[in-house]
Symmetry: D5
């Protein structure tokens, strides 16, 4: 079962069961972002989490197996997305990319924020003027090695 088929199978089961990513993540005992990304084929689940997701969705062992496999991360995305929700993040890079560089370097020195030793959380923040999306990215700082 390819990752693409995996995603289709999970989306169909999720719809049939009328469940949510939040519930699937809870079943997996992992965060919503990580679990969803694995179901969408962009990450690999640990075997137990994969099994739990498969069981929760009432799917066969081939689904759990496919969830565990190494993902071919990032390759399904457009070079520059045209989908409005995702494009806003692209725009943030265009506008704030140089600012991110300046401030991370000021606070840490030469290096980067890891996108590997990295977590992300997405929350809905109630606000009388209109609820807000809060995204927290948290990545280990990696200083450039000098040798």
């Amino acid at each position: 079962m390819t990752k693409a088929t995996l995603t289709e199978t999970i989306l169909a089961a999720k719809k049939a069961k009328q469940t949510t990513w939040a519930a699937i993540a809870q079943a997996a005992c992992l965060s919503e972002v990580y679990t969803t990304s694995a179901c969408l084929g962009e990450n690999a689940l640990p075997p137990e989490a994969a099994e739990k997701v498969g069981t929760f969705l009432g799917l066969g062992p081939d689904v759990a197996e496919a969830l565990v496999e190494f993902a071919n991360k990032g390759e399904a995305a457009s070079t520059v997305t045209q989908e409005p929700l995702q494009y806003r993040f692209q725009e943030i890079i265009y506008v704030y990319g140089s600012t991110l560089k300046a401030l991370i370097e000021e606070k840490f020195g030469a290096g980067i924020m890891s996108a590997i030793d990295f977590t992300m959380d997405i929350d809905r923040i109630p606000d009388p003027k209109g609820d807000r999306v809060k995204i927290v990215m948290n990545g280990k700082f990696l200083g450039y090695k000098t040798w």
Copy 2:
């Protein structure tokens, strides 16, 4: 004074004065991210904030004036950056773009996180296994209008 000259002038003054973006932001009474982005030519400062930045850096009124002007946001950036620190954010879009879409839609319905009614903060989080970069993005949810 163009925004490009503005940025050069501020960078030179900042270096001469051996100050930081944090201190400039404090002088402006605005956040670090917003103030830095304005100094880098990607945003416009309100007149009082612009004046305070100019005064703090010991620069003439043309700097404050240029800080207030409308920015040509995003145009200076590469379509896809090759600079490692900024690329990690591009990679996050490639890997987690579909997840961001799935979870924001699950939590809010059809719509986007605004990149306009939007704030971002960058912090250093001490961690014994290596300090971490914490980035909080907070944007108003905008539901697609039906008409």
Copy 3:
């Protein structure tokens, strides 16, 4: 049913029934532009509107269901279209993009016209020298947040 299959199904039913987008929109009690865009897979319909469209076209509940699903907006389009009718709008951006920026900023300050809280209407204006296409775009102004 994917959005692509949805569109094919609707186009076939529309042709068989010899009806128009105007009539489908009227059935949906929504505007022509919004209804058509949803039928072409670029927007989601509210459940009642979706049901009305399905009933009007004599199609099964899977069509109404697919019409309600979140759209993957914008991804089906070419980066720069080569189709003449659509290209004229691309050309308008090339020629008048800087003018749009200058005038919206003059009238409103720093910010953008929302493409989310947004409506568009297309009309045929009779004219003895040749009828004209009138397109009205109406989007909420969003001022850049300062923080």
Copy 4:
């Protein structure tokens, strides 16, 4: 005087004189959109209008002369803009391009909306929930010739 120098000269005079595009357009006896686009180098003004703009801004005859010259329209624009205000119009093409085609063809038959025999107006519409940008495009329909 190149069109690029022309634009710089006009922008400097406009700032020194603390005037607006609206006032310059009024001086030119032409619309805001057309006058601004000509000042930004994307259109040519008729000689009298050019002279009036030059006089209004207190600039020499070389400005009026340059305003009259044929423009190299569209070439200064990015293939796909990264500037947020202009990008929203790009996004509208991505999302509504196929809808524009479907509805114009339904209303008029095979053909296009002219971007040459074309006018555009931009207005601020007061709205208690936030003022709105209203853009009206009006172009002659041109049916594909059959021969």
Copy 5:
């Protein structure tokens, strides 16, 4: 029947019948260029012409029907063709594009040659030094509207 299937069907019938584009055009009572472009899916035929083409090629009514439908013009082409015959025309734009602009503007003023109210003819001109391809393009001049 999609335009792509239409073209395949017509090419097969044309080959089986051992006929030519010239004969098909004659049957359609239209020019060779227009008729061929419609058979290749790039234009729509008027109903009577479509019927005549279908009858001439001994094909069913679905062919005539598909010939009448709005074409998705230009989208099948490469951004820059690599096919030698078509590339020569691309090269002509590269080499003579600025010349076309200079001479059309000199002869007509600011504006364009319409590609919509447009005809093209292709002829073989006998020549003792080698026969020549003669292409005549004829498009209405459209002056930029000032408003």
Copy 6:
């Protein structure tokens, strides 16, 4: 003198002298298209024609010399132009490229129309419904060599 400087010099002299491409071509005893393209740096003039152009415009021998030099043809053009007048020709390739191939092959066999042994003429054709641009391209047919 580079070709770029050559073009600037000629454009300035042409404007000062208030002359036309047609007059320059007449002075050169060559066609308008060829002469203009050489003045714009896209072709080389024969020495006598170059001298005549220089004399006609009252320019020094370095202009005639630069007009004679080999041109770096096509490199100054955009890969896909965004300038409306020139783009219409790009659009003609997108829409009629496959038709050009089909008809030239039908009339001549496998091969191409030369863009080297090639002439082009541009004329204004009076028409009560609006004057028309007539472009005649005439290139030697070159059959693919079999070996």
Copy 7:
């Protein structure tokens, strides 16, 4: 039979018969380069040569027929190949393109080497330090026409 199917069929027959391009070319009484390119769908064979290739490979008349059809040359290739053997020729253009221009112009005047009235041969040259690939391209010089 499309050119793509043709190539697959010929490759399968060539493998089954354990023959070579050299032998197929000999059967066709044409050069190796031309015959191979036709079998790979990039050229058309004369009817007799096509028949001989079909007979030699023991294939039906549809193969000979497909070999004779006009090829859609060049369209199957990548814009810039990533395949190492072919890339070396791309690199030769990058490094020696300006040299080719300078020397052909010095030897012939303004013009090009035809890629249509053109032959190419590939040979293995024994060499004690390692055998060498010898490629001979031979194209008619075409001088730019002046008119």
Copy 8:
């Protein structure tokens, strides 16, 4: 002296001296192709050859020095050239790339023709039907190493 300045200097001296690439190559005791490519900044000359070229052109020691420096080969070229003479070679790769691969593999096995241990010669071949350009490329075959 950069390679770009070097090329300009040599081109000016070559023109002043009214000499040819052939003569410069003879002075260098190297082939026309290699010598020209070095003068155009795409290769490095051995010190003695560089000195001879400098002396022949009556230029100072900085020219000889710059001729000896490592070249930044290939970077000045367009990704895909639009200049007609050079494009014909690009077209040859598009049309004959797969043929080159098939025949070199048949004659040598898996590997490539070196573009490093490589020579190229350009000759004018008189022909009553029009003189021809003959280009001989000769590169060492390099078999893929298995390990």
Copy 9:
């Protein structure tokens, strides 16, 4: 059997047999990198090695046959990969490309490291601060030929 089918078949057999690339390479008596690349369709195996791989994986002779065929190397890769593991190597070229050029030229003179007469090895190096990936590339230096 195409190379793509070959890879799918091998991946399925490798999974069913629960074996590793290391074991397959050992069976082939070749390095891990070369064997894996051949199984992934990017290289050709010598006949005996191909047979050993086929036997080891319990697959039919068509697999061994396909493993021996010339590979269409590099064409399956993205122009610039978005997959994080592979992108890190792209980033190394962006950051260290000019350094590689400077140091190889300093140590060897003008030339390149062959990617054909080339080996690569990948190893896991235990390290208390986190194990490390060690990659050794070893290619023959090829000096540019002067002729």
Copy 10:
């Protein structure tokens, strides 16, 4: 002093002093690769190393200062290089990218080789059949975090 000016200054001093990257690196007490990359503007040196390089080359304190500043890494490189020496590494990614992924995942699990906690060394390995370039990359393995 910008990084670009820094590099020019260092290259000029290195040439004047007739020294090598190896000697500069020795002066810096750092590796050749790291020191060279910093001198080429792609990395930052620690203050003492920067001072030593400045002193060794006989350059002023502004050079040492510029060497210490954060680099804008990777942005000066072409998206895909056309320079032959550097392209060979691009080709290695094209051909061996999927192999690198397969083997690193087999040896380590899901994750990447860090390009930040990373060293690289370049050596000349004498070989009677032609000396070889040996490149050792050594990066920390970073496993994808699950959360």
